[in-house]
Amino acid sequence: MAPSAAPAQVPVTVLTGYLGAGKTTLLNRILSEQHGKKYAVIVNEFGELGVDNDLVVNADEEVFEMNNGCICCTVRGDLIRIIEGLMKRKDKFDGILVETTGLADPGPVAQTFFTDDDVKARTRLDAIVTVVDAKHFLGQLEQGDEAEEQVAFADVILLNKTDLVSEDDLAKVEAKITSINRYARIHRTQKSKIELDAILDKGAFDLKRILEFEPDFLHHGHDHDHGDEVASLSFSSDRPVDPDKFQKWMGALLQLRGQDILRSKGILAIDGAPRRYVFQGVHMMMDADWGTPWKEGEKRSSKLVFIGRSLDAENLKRGFEDCLK
């Protein structure tokens, strides 16, 4: 093949949040502010946006099961089609924003970026941003799994409408969010007001940036049995990882428990390898690559994070330890 400059991958930000949390307000803000950037916005309710912009695309959330025998492998068919279409435009974008409906499971959107080769070639999933309604979040948790899963998937959380609750209640909501997902960065906001560089082009899914992005990555995670609720678990070790054993364990684990494991990430010190091995997963899908090299004399440790439902901490710990040399 003739050499050619690889087309730059456009960063995609997925915007989730329960009904009424403030997603549309945030989108209107992004579209109307003078930031000198050009975004394509994929929305599910055309009429709700106050700004008329020809880069706003109306999408019906078309969740497709992949016909490959993997029960939780679902993708957003409309997104595949729309991204392919957007790439036919002459004008290029600084980013693409995908708004999901208030009751949407973020899984299929995220998995689209792991599954479809054309989408992977042209775009990269940058971050999942979840807007949380500070006043109604705890109540929404009782309504079904959606509010909880939207927080579980998040890389960045806008804890919005903070002016409508007391500081005590806010602390309770924040504690609840952290118990579900201790690795997302939380920004307190009112009327979805936030600096755009806090939510856009974060590189949260960039495998090479997992380390910088997770300030408290090293902390040990779990404390008690969370039962059916979504929780985060993390494990770490200073012993080198056996790559074959790890592949086998992780492969089987995601195959078996992929429906309950919403997000997984890790940085591994593979026995004898000069570079970090980094991975990032959504349900059963996983992407892995070699990250930055270990420095001379640097302590080589491995870290593993799971965010999911009904996670068996003991079992996961044992599984991970069996992969160590």
């Binding site: 093949m1 003739a2 050499p3 050619s4 055309f46 020809d54 695309v57 109306n58 019906d60 078309e62 497709f64 099961e65 992949m66 016909n67 490959n68 993708v75 068919g77 409309d78 595949i80 089609r81 729309i82 279409g85 790439m87 036919k88 435009r89 002459k90 004008d91 479809d116 080769d117 054309d118």
Partner: protein, 349 residues
Amino acid sequence: MSKIDLGNPEWRSRLPSSRAVAADAPAAACAFSRDGKTVAFALGDGRVRLLPADVTEVAGAAPESAHKGAVLSLIADPMGDGFLSGGDDGRLLRIAPDGGTTEIVNQKGKWIDKLAAHRSNGTFAASVGKMAVVVDKAGEVREFGPHPSTVAAIDFSKDGSRIAAAHYGGITVWSIGQVTLPPRKLGWQGSHVALKWSTDGKFIATGTQENDIHVWRVAQSSDMRMQGYPAKVKSLSWSADARWLYTSAQPVFTAWPFAGKGPEGKPPLQFGDEGAGLITVVAAHPAAEFVVGGYDSGELQLGDIKTRRSAVLKMADGAAVSCLAWSPDGFALAAGNDNGDLLVIDLRR
């Protein structure tokens, strides 16, 4: 008829005359007009670029923008010597040979990304969201659907009495005559992203999200599945005699044999030169045994399935071929790529 002779060293040694135009916007589709005199390219900046098919003729000025966003689909107008174009601005336009436009559909917020026409009855069809919109020669607009998902591809039966639409979960066949009949659903799990009805009307082939091909025998409703492609098969083309189904997503020409009992249990016929990448677009000659393939590297190859010979028509340049079209007489080709390089090739030597 064949002045195209891949076995003739003299034919091979001479470069075809061609016209190259840099349009500076990705080409989504191209087509020759019915009279073969004009070539049109659908561009990512909203323009439909018209060029004389005769490569020695001076090209006129580029017409004004036709659509507001990107032009996503383009076919020859079955009712004249112009074209039909669909865009991400939700508009379907009729374009006269002089570039003048008439709006036929305007549905803001929807994309018109697939168009198909019947070769002789003047009817055409467009995908508009979950609906298939059919416009007959009298200009009457009728909608078919909704389908289970956005219509991903659409095509006419040989006799023009039916259309087939590809979507999630299979395809739907509609009778488009004046008598409304219930649609026929031919199911196969997963999302179907490309569709071509065979030139003899007996088969409907689709490309799927899972890199497979699915083919239904229309009369029997029996179906078959071809696996093993490394990428989605987005381009399908039936040979004029319906003996072969050509597919993209392979490093060489790949043709499934549909003569006799069909392709069950047989491997596809493969020929041509490897090493140019993967074929992104494939187009069978309108009458003879030739086929043209465009690669993700930009290379163009012409193949002859009878002799299994091939010749390079254009060298790789790094920009994936995005569209191909044969002239009605089969002596000229149009090709476009992701960079907006537009090419018209005259194969008469």
